[in-house]
Assembly symmetry: C2
């Protein structure tokens, strides 16, 4: 397999973009990723999008976004794995370049969710769960994370307040990210005083879905050198799956697909969790971040919450998490999240993260989940 | 890039499978494709599916089908490009094996469309068009093909009856295919006497959407040799796009994406249209088959209809088309069509097509379209 590099990134602000189309958002992110590179050098486009069919009445988002970017004619397709779409699309781009078929593939994650009423949006988000066992009973993803949080608290003896450092960290970092949906700090007290969304998950421990697009350019070594791009290598790439329905898993608080994809990605990159200096996870709630940290191997089972309580997930800690604000503060763009994660990690590896910069970041891990981890995509990035 | 082979195929009957789930259909096709191969040797699964979100309330069809096949844990994802999904999923599998990442990838196309009422099904099918310019005005794909047929008749001086040999050929072949939805012959007279669906398209010149699943196993040369599988090589693979909206194309009866993907696939395979002995196209109507034949280079512009009138598209002709019945007689399984096409061509290249067998078939071409060709995927298969 040929080595594969990320040579450009771009993102829109995450917001309620009522006056802009999905194509318009995708174009802003793509143009930023291109920089000085001529658009006609892009040979293929993989679009990460989860809710185009449900909310945008569009089943060929690949072709639609190709046209919006002025790339019509090009190979383009749509990858849908709910919240894991961004990571899975990057995986397909990685394979296309690693095969030698292409020198330059664009991955664009785009989601446009705020121009429908809540009931329709909830129905769209429920596509990430099991329709027969979960959706039909009204068990939203938030409700399921809440149940996992209760189980975890019971199993390991924590209180809800123990999870509050996750949103506090995410908001602290989001406050420094001009593209974030929420650019204000919060506190443990505020998180627990906020209204309940699904007890024990409060409003301030729950992400908000919003519109946005992110883009990355995936290139061969030859092209990366020719363009004199900073060399950020995709050193590991893996996707794994689990059952959709939570009740079908023998041990629900263990995210098996997340664990498997992380182990495969770390192993193929030849690094361990101790080498990783910046982390992006699917973290709409503290419990999701906790289970993700444990599945990836950053903490033993039952000890993920400790990392947050001890400050290890902060920018100056040993496991800096959500340095761009994560799902909670940057905003939850569903199928685009996985691409936003890569944009943030490249920012870290290039030393361009300003107030949220991790000192000397050389190795980073991104993991995104579809639903409650039925699909998990993990990538390891290394600055060369 | 590593050479890539198809070493197993399977398909369900195309029918109204009211009592079976998508997972159940996928399993039947997958088990047939496996034959004696142990399922745990399959390393990744790419699911071609267009209407899971719209009709099956399922946004992670990749993970869902992986579980249904007993493969949970495996890398799996969903590829959605409307009617081109099957070919695009095969393209991703081809790249994954060509890269050396995997030795064995399964592609499963599955669609379950008959257990909803017509209005919802029509809304699902309309996802393949442009929502703002076409869907909102009620311009179905059938209506758009009808407009293209009118334009073509005007431009080249044909009558509607001139297109009837396409469904007649498809039904003649479908009658010999035990998996086909319609296993009866028809005639030019019957096609034109049938009720109008969208003038000048009659009921007997229009495909019927139905349920079904098809599976192919895509493997490295090493594995193909180890398993002693008949060597059918994917010699060419290409995807291209065009605008979604028909009115945005400078020359609507010219399917640009179809032409581009066919030219790229033929060129990378090192063969010409004269070498191809079996053809599968997206052929829900005679006009679609006509424009596909012209875009691929089997006929000059305006001369595609001649091939059918002269009998060239028959099993004994120079350009045998739809030997398994095509969309018209095998049945239109939307996102799964592209995988059914490959199953049929492998049957031809292995000499297993019975009454519909083309003598000494060595090279075959499959092309599937999303909507009116906004996405087009073309593959060239060669028997070694």
């Amino acid at each position: 397999m040929q080595p594969v590099y990320i040579i450009g990134t771009g993102q829109t602000a995450v917001a309620e973009h009522w006056e802009r189309t999905a194509g318009d958002l995708a174009r802003e992110a793509f143009m930023a990723a291109l920089g000085n590179i001529a658009p006609e050098r892009v040979q293929a486009l993989y679009v990460a999008n989860a809710l185009g069919s449900a909310l945008q009445v569009q089943g060929q988002m690949g072709a639609a976004i190709a046209t919006a970017l002025g790339l019509q004619g090009i190979e383009a397709s749509t990858i849908d794995a709910a919240g894991a779409s961004g990571g899975v699309a990057l995986r397909h781009a990685y394979l296309a370049v690693a095969s030698g078929a292409y020198d330059l593939v664009a991955v664009v994650g785009v989601e446009k969710v705020t121009d429908v009423l809540d009931a329709r949006l909830e129905a769209g988000l429920a596509l990430a769960g099991d329709a027969d066992w979960e959706g039909v009973h009204g068990a939203t993803l938030t409700a399921q994370w809440a149940m996992l949080m209760r189980r975890y608290m019971h199993q390991y003896g924590y209180d809800a307040v123990d999870f509050a450092p996750f949103p506090v960290n995410a908001h602290a970092n989001g406050a420094a990210n001009p593209k974030a949906l929420y650019r204000f700090a919060t506190s443990v007290e505020k998180v627990r005083a906020a209204g309940m969304v699904a007890d024990p998950l409060s409003l301030l421990d729950s992400s908000t879905v919003a519109d946005g697009a992110a883009a990355v350019l995936v290139a061969s070594a030859g092209l990366a050198r020719e363009l004199n791009a900073p060399l950020i290598r995709i050193a590991g790439s893996a996707v794994a799956t689990d059952t959709l329905a939570l009740h079908q898993r023998p041990d629900p608080p263990w995210l098996g697909a997340a664990a498997r994809s992380a182990a495969n990605a770390l192993s193929s990159a030849g690094v361990g969790t101790g080498d990783v200096q910046a982390i992006e996870l699917t973290d709409p709630h503290g419990i999701a971040a906790t289970l993700g940290l444990e599945a990836c191997g950053f903490a033993e089972r039952g000890a993920g919450v400790q990392l947050a309580r001890e400050g290890a997930i902060g920018v100056g800690g040993t496991a800096p998490l959500a340095t761009g604000g994560g799902c909670k503060a940057r905003g939850d763009t569903v199928g685009a999240n996985g691409v936003f994660q890569i944009v943030e990690l490249v920012r870290q590896l290039r030393g361009e993260a300003g107030k949220a910069q991790v000192a000397n970041a050389r190795v980073a891990l991104a993991q995104c989940l579809g639903g409650i981890g039925a699909t998990a995509a993990t990538h390891i990035l290394v600055a060369e």
